[in-house]
């Protein structure tokens, strides 16, 4: 009886009046995180990563090879960071930008001169866009040279090819928006290239422009593509790209012993190919028991009894590196944006193309090709290259060399790939530096 007399008033007290606020911060916090504020041990770290919407893109643990800088050179992650920076700065720029031929250029001048922080945001946006194109291309090169596009990652490579095209299309639609000379003539030339596509070319050009010639309708269309349609598709595909990385069993790494012998790592080392990094079979086919918290892949799961000696906790190992890489890239980009102004040419003048009329550097290889033949340079050769890229992992179906830089068994494929990339690079350099008035050959010195 005396127990009741003590307990009942207290519970009334807790649920009523101001006393209800006692400990409310803890209740709110717990409703959001349901976990200790800061995870204290490996188990709590793993749970935090698995249960948090924003962190669960990681597996709880990753292979330490994944985190080695030389595995990825951080390029995929850097591409993603550029995208994030572009979204943030881009949304901010949208608050001032008006997509009409009469206003667009003035708004650029306003951003440069009048709006607080406007020039810095515009510079950041422009340089991040250039950096993203460069980084995505380099990321593709690293994936190929490490054989990471081979089975079972073929489809993720294909998603990657589409991401590259979207990245290029994003930048194409983006540099139209200032409505300066570069913008205007780039879109004249670019949409004319689309017009050379077989069968659908002319109607594609008409739909892109929303008119028979470049004007306000085209600007509006490119604005919607640049600010809404393309980023939405890009973001969705980046999500699929990341998802596939885990579903494909994490980043590519050399095969261990193929038979799935889970005995130990020494056997693996003795089966090593010359030139291959030592590897540890983490997903033996016949494993009896499996870890539950790791990234789950079809067909196989990580086995118990295999010493998880090369697994590291995503939190902190991966998260710390990602944060560091982000901070460094933002820092470098900011310094760049403080020093170098984003270009802005004269206002668009439909009567007089500049001479020479040049696209940004990453399209000058294409422009060089186009100056020989519009169909082959603008549609034929790029089309064949994209098709080749999509088919590459299916053509190179023989196992071996996954996750190893310049693996000997892949040297033929690597040479072909490098030859194509170098050719494109050389064309880009010719277009950038060796073409002058009337697109005549000149020397830059």
């Amino acid at each position: 009886m005396s127990v009741h007399e003590v307990v009942v008033p207290q519970s009334i007290n807790e649920n009523g009046g101001l006393a209800g606020f006692r400990g409310i911060h803890r209740r709110i916090w717990n409703s959001v995180f349901r976990k200790p504020a800061i995870p204290q041990n490996e188990l709590e770290h793993s749970k935090a990563v698995a249960d948090n919407f924003f962190l669960h893109i990681h597996s709880a643990k990753v292979h330490d090879r994944t985190l080695k800088f030389r595995t990825t050179l951080g390029l995929g992650l850097l591409s993603f960071f550029m995208f994030i920076i572009l979204v943030v700065t881009g949304v901010l720029l949208m608050f001032y930008y008006v997509p009409t031929p009469a206003e667009a250029y003035n708004r650029m001048l306003d951003l440069r001169g009048a709006v607080f922080f406007g020039d810095i945001l515009r510079n950041l946006h422009r340089w991040a866009a250039h950096a993203m194109v460069l980084l995505v291309v380099l990321h593709m090169v690293r994936v190929f040279l490490t054989g990471a596009h081979k089975a079972p990652r073929e489809f993720n490579w294909c998603i990657g090819v589409v991401l590259l095209l979207l990245t290029l299309f994003m930048s194409f639609t983006g540099y139209l928006l200032p409505w300066d000379q570069l913008a205007y003539w780039a879109i004249v030339v670019g949409t004319s290239i689309a017009g050379y596509a077989p069968v659908v070319g002319k109607s594609m050009q008409f739909v892109l422009l929303g008119d028979y010639s470049v004007g306000g309708e085209a600007l509006l269309r490119f604005y919607v593509l640049h600010c809404v349609a393309l980023p939405a598709v890009l973001l969705a595909l980046v999500g699929a790209h990341f998802w596939r990385i885990r579903k494909d069993g994490g980043l590519a790494r050399p095969h261990g012993n193929e038979e799935g012998d889970s005995s130990n790592t020494k056997a693996t080392v003795s089966h090593m190919q010359p030139g291959e990094a030592p590897s540890f079979e983490r997903f033996p086919a016949r494993a009896g028991k499996t870890y539950g918290l790791m990234c789950v892949v079809e067909r196989s799961s990580p086995a118990t009894k295999v010493e998880p000696e090369c697994q590291v906790q995503s939190w902190p190992a991966a998260l710390n590196r990602e944060l560091a890489l982000f901070v460094i890239s933002l820092l470098v980009l900011s310094i760049f944006a403080l020093i170098f102004k984003a270009p802005l040419e004269d206002p668009a003048n439909p009567l007089h193309p500049p001479n020479p009329a040049k696209a940004p550097w990453y399209f000058l290889g294409l422009q060089e090709l186009v100056s020989y033949d519009a169909f082959w340079g603008g549609i034929g050769i790029p089309g064949i290259l994209v098709l080749l890229a999509l088919l590459a992992p299916y053509l190179e179906w023989r196992k071996g060399g996954e996750g190893v830089w310049f693996h000997r068994s892949r040297s033929a494929a690597n040479w072909m790939f490098l030859t194509i990339m170098l050719t494109l690079g050389i064309l880009t350099i010719i277009g950038s530096l060796f073409r002058g008035v009337n697109w005549q050959f000149t020397v830059p010195w």
Partner: protein, 163 residues
């Protein structure tokens, strides 16, 4: 009420068949709807109303044009040529990738990728795949010359104007 009688031998197969039928009907209906929607959305993107510049341009009275010369009308991206009493309108849009060509002593030059054309607009060099377009030119009731840029006529088509 009569007791509900279920004959397992009879009820199972019709049920199967009904499910398959409903599945097929639903799938076909939804696929058709999705296909139609995508098609309509694509057609939606193709403008029916052109807000931009009209394809018809009035270029002035015939006798405003000097004899035997080209008159460049940059805003309309064309030039008008007068030969005696014959008139023609020739596009200044490069047939390669759409830059504006400039008149030179011997014809026309494109600054973008170096195409060259002769006085008639025939492509002579560079990547241009075909001659400059000739547009239909006509006389309005008010006696002004009008060029229809959506109407490309054969090369060397002139309009005779009685003077």
């Amino acid at each position: 009420m009569a007791p509900l009688h279920i004959d397992p031998e009879r009820s199972a197969p019709p049920d199967e068949g009904r499910r398959r039928f409903l599945t097929t009907v639903t799938t076909v209906t939804l696929a058709t709807a999705a296909g139609a929607m995508s098609l309509f959305n694509m057609i939606f993107l193709k403008p029916r109303v052109i807000y931009g510049s009209s394809s018809k341009v009035r270029v002035g009275r015939p006798n405003a044009f000097p004899q035997g010369s080209y008159l460049d009308l940059p805003a309309a991206r064309l030039m008008v040529r007068r030969d005696g009493n014959r008139f023609a309108a020739i596009s200044t849009v490069c047939t390669h990738l759409g830059c504006t060509v400039r008149a030179t002593d011997v014809g026309f030059d494109c600054p973008c990728h170096g195409s060259t054309y002769d006085q008639q607009g025939i492509n002579m060099g560079g990547p241009a795949p075909k001659p400059l377009a000739w547009y239909r030119i006509s006389l309005t009731p008010e006696g002004e010359l009008e060029v229809d840029k959506s109407d490309i006529v054969p090369f060397n088509t002139y309009l005779e104007v009685a003077s």
